[in-house]
C-alpha cells in the first residue's frame, strides 16, 4: 500500500537540478534507504517532502492527500516527521536535559519516559544533551522525531560520525523501535554495509534522478550502482 508518492517533483537551484522529475513512492511499513553520492539530491528530496524546501514543480501526495505546499506543522500532523541533528543546535539544545527535548514534543512526562525508554535512554533523562556520547546523541535525534508519532519518518544520516561498532548498535535500536511502532522509515545513509543489512528496499539517486530501485539483492546485482558508487563495475 502506498503511503507517500511524489509526482514529477522538481527542485532547481539556478542551473543545478537537485531533484529532476522525481517519482518516488514509499510503501507502508517498509524500511527504505536513500543512497547516492554527495550532491545526488537525497537531502533535497527529503527537504521537499518534509516542507523545508518548496518545489519548483510537481506534487507530493501523502495517504492520497496533496501536501505539496502544506505548512511544516500540517505535514507533521498528517504524519511526516524528520530527524534533526541536535549537535548542530544552539546552546539551549545542548544544555537542555534529554527529557526536555522529548517533553517539548509530547507535552506529557509519562510519554516522554516511554519514548526515552524505547531508545534505551531512560537512565540519562536528566543529562544535558551536550554531555552525551556521539552515538547516544544520534539516538536522541531519532527519538525526538519519533516522539512526534509519525507514520513516515525521515532520518538524515543517523549514523554519520560514529564508529562502525556504534553504527550497528544505533541501527539495531532504530530499526527495532521503528518496526515495533509500525513506522515507515526512509533513511539517508552512506555506509553501504548498513544499507544492505537493514533495508527492505534501496533507492539510489544520481544527479537529481533515480538510478536504481530495488531490494538489497537487486541493488547488489546492479552494475550501474557499483559504477557510480565505487567507480568500477563489480563484475569487471
Amino acid at each position: 500500500m502506498i503511503l507517500l508518492e511524489t509526482v514529477d517533483l522538481s527542485k532547481r537551484f539556478g542551473d543545478l537540478r537537485a531533484c529532476d522529475d522525481v517519482n518516488f513512492t514509499v510503501n507502508k511499513g517498509e524500511f527504505l534507504s536513500l543512497v547516492g553520492s554527495n550532491g545526488a539530491g537525497k537531502t533535497s528530496l527529503v527537504n521537499l517532502i518534509s516542507g523545508h524546501l518548496k518545489p519548483n514543480s510537481g506534487r507530493i501526495l501523502f495517504e492520497g492527500q496533496d501536501v505539496t505546499f502544506a505548512a511544516v506543522y500540517e505535514r507533521i500532523k498528517a504524519g511526516i516527521a524528520r530527524s534533526f541533528q541536535i549537535s548542530r543546535e544552539g546552546k539551549i539544545a545542548r544544555i537542555a536535559a534529554l527529557a526536555d527535548h522529548i517533553l517539548v514534543v509530547v507535552r506529557k512526562r509519562r510519554e516522554t519516559f516511554d519514548v526515552l525508554g524505547r531508545f534505551g535512554l531512560n537512565g540519562k533523562s536528566s543529562v544535558p544533551a551536550g554531555g552525551l556520547a556521539q552515538g547516544e546523541r544520534k539516538l536522541l535525534d531519532v527519538a525526538v522525531a519519533y516522539a512526534l508519532r509519525p507514520k513516515l519518518l525521515f532520518l538524515d544520516e543517523p549514523t554519520s560520525g560514529v564508529s562502525t561498532r556504534e553504527k550497528t548498535q544505533i541501527m539495531d535500536t532504530v530499526s527495532s523501535v521503528v518496526r515495533a511502532g509500525a513506522v515507515t522509515a526512509v533513511v539517508i545513509e552512506h555506509d553501504m554495509d548498513v544499507v544492505f543489512r537493514y533495508s527492505d528496499r534501496i533507492v539510489m539517486m544520481h544527479e537529481g534522478r533515480f538510478l536504481a530501485d530495488g531490494t538489497p539483492e537487486e541493488i547488489k546485482a546492479n552494475n550501474d550502482v557499483a559504477n557510480i558508487l565505487l567507480g568500477v563495475p563489480l563484475s569487471a
Binding site: S50, G51, H52, V72, Y73, I76, K77, A81, R82, F84, E89, G90, K91, I92, A93, A96, A97, A99, D100, L103, V104, V105, R107, R109, R110, F113, N122, G123, S125, S126, V127, P128, G131, V144, A145, L148
Partner: protein, 337 residues
C-alpha cells in the same frame, strides 16, 4: 530508573530554590517597619517594575523577541484603572485587576497578532510604532484622557472593600497596606511565570528562540507560540500598570511614551535577560537607580546612559548573570556531566 525516581532527582534542586524564594519573600515582608515609609513606597514601585520586566522578559529572554513597545500595555493598565474610576465609579482594587487584565490581554493579543509576523528589528519597530499610536491617542484625545494633564486616581479600597483609606493617617496606612498587597500579587506573578517558562510551552518558546527551523520540525506552530507569548507578556506588563497607578495617584501619556519602553528594556538588561530572576532584580534596582539619579543630579539621564554603556560592555549578562557566573566558578566541581 522509574519515572518517580527520575522525577525526585529532578525536583530536589527545585525544592532548594523554593526555600530560597520563601526566605526572600519573608525578608521582604519583614522590611517595612525597619525602612520607613518612603523606602516602603519606593520598594513598592520596584516590585511593580519587577512585574513589568518579568512579563517583558518572557518575550526577550525566552522567546527571543525584543519589544520596544511594552509601555503601551503598562499604559493600557494604568488608563483602564483611571477610566474605571472616572466613568464607572469603581473603587475596588480587585475589580480594577479583574477588569483591567482582560483589557490589557485584548490589546496585547491585537498588537501581538500584528507584530509576531515579523522578527528581529522589524518586530521591534512594529511594537514601537503601535505603542506610539496609543501614546498619541492618550496625548491628543484630551477630552477623554485628560491629555498631557493625565487622569487622577484616588486611593482604591483593598480586599473587596475591607480596607479603606480615608481620614487622618490614611496615606501612611495605604502605603503600608499597599506594599503587602503588591508583594502578594508579585509573588503570585513570579510563581505563574516560573511555571510558564518551565512548562513544555516555555521550553518550546526557548526552542523557537534558539532555532526556528528545527522548532518547526518539532511540529510547533511558531507564530502561534510567539503570539501567546506576546499575549502573556503584555498582560503581565499591563498588570504592572494597573498596580502602579493607585500608588502614583496620576497617569499621564508619559507611561505610554517610548522612553518608558526603553526603561523596561533597561531594567531587564540591568538584571540580565538570560536569567529568570534577572528582570526582577533589574526592575527593583532600576527603580532605586533612577530615583537616586534624579535626586542627585540634573544630568540624571547622562548618569543612566553611562550605567547602560558600562553594563553592556562589562556585564552583558546583567547583574544576576554575572553573579551566577562567579558562583559557578567558585562552586567545587563535583560532577561535570
Amino acid at each position: 530508573m522509574t519515572v518517580a525516581a527520575v522525577s525526585r532527582v529532578q525536583y530536589r534542586p527545585k525544592l532548594l530554590l523554593f526555600a530560597a524564594a520563601a526566605v526572600v519573600l519573608m525578608l521582604l515582608a519583614l522590611l517595612p517597619p525597619y525602612i520607613g515609609l518612603y523606602q516602603t513606597q519606593l520598594l513598592t514601585y520596584g516590585l511593580i517594575a519587577a512585574i513589568a520586566a518579568l512579563g517583558f522578559n518572557l518575550l526577550l529572554g525566552y522567546t527571543g523577541l525584543l519589544s520596544f513597545g511594552h509601555s503601551a500595555f503598562f499604559g493600557v493598565g494604568a488608563y483602564s484603572v483611571a477610566f474605571l474610576l472616572r466613568d464607572a465609579g469603581i473603587h475596588s482594587m480587585e475589580l480594577y485587576i479583574l477588569i483591567g487584565l482582560p483589557i490589557a490581554a485584548v490589546i496585547s493579543a491585537l498588537f501581538g497578532y500584528i507584530c509576531v509576523r515579523h522578527t528581529r528589528i522589524f518586530f521591534g519597530i512594529l511594537t514601537l510604532a503601535l505603542s506610539q499610536v496609543l501614546w498619541t491617542l492618550a496625548y491628543k484625545f484630551f477630552w477623554v484622557t485628560g491629555g498631557s494633564d493625565g487622569l487622577r486616581v484616588a486611593r482604591p479600597t483593598l480586599l473587596a472593600g475591607m480596607l479603606t483609606f480615608t481620614g487622618g493617617g490614611s496615606f501612611q496606612r495605604f502605603i503600608n497596606a499597599y506594599y503587602y498587597y503588591v508583594l502578594g500579587v508579585f509573588a503570585i506573578c513570579v510563581v505563574i511565570m516560573w511555571v510558564i517558562v518551565h512548562s513544555p510551552f516555555g521550553k518550546a518558546l526557548q526552542a523557537i528562540r534558539d532555532n526556528e527551523t528545527r522548532a518547526a520540525f518539532l511540529g510547533l506552530r511558531i507564530s502561534r507560540f510567539r503570539w501567546v507569548s506576546f499575549l502573556i507578556s503584555g498582560t503581565f506588563t499591563g498588570l504592572a500598570g494597573i498596580l502602579w497607578v493607585p500608588l502614583n495617584g496620576l497617569t499621564t501619556p508619559e507611561v505610554m511614551y517610548w522612553p518608558f519602553s526603553g526603561e523596561i528594556v533597561f531594567m531587564t538588561l540591568l538584571g540580565g535577560f538570560r536569567n529568570f530572576t534577572g528582570p526582577i532584580v533589574g526592575g527593583v534596582l532600576f527603580t532605586y537607580l533612577k530615583t537616586y539619579a534624579v535626586a542627585t543630579t540634573e544630568y540624571w539621564q547622562l548618569l543612566l546612559g553611562v550605567v547602560l554603556v558600562l553594563l553592556v560592555m562589562l556585564l552583558p549578562t546583567g547583574i544576576v548573570g554575572a553573579i551566577s557566573a562567579v558562583a559557578g566558578k567558585l562552586r567545587p566541581r563535583e560532577k561535570s556531566s
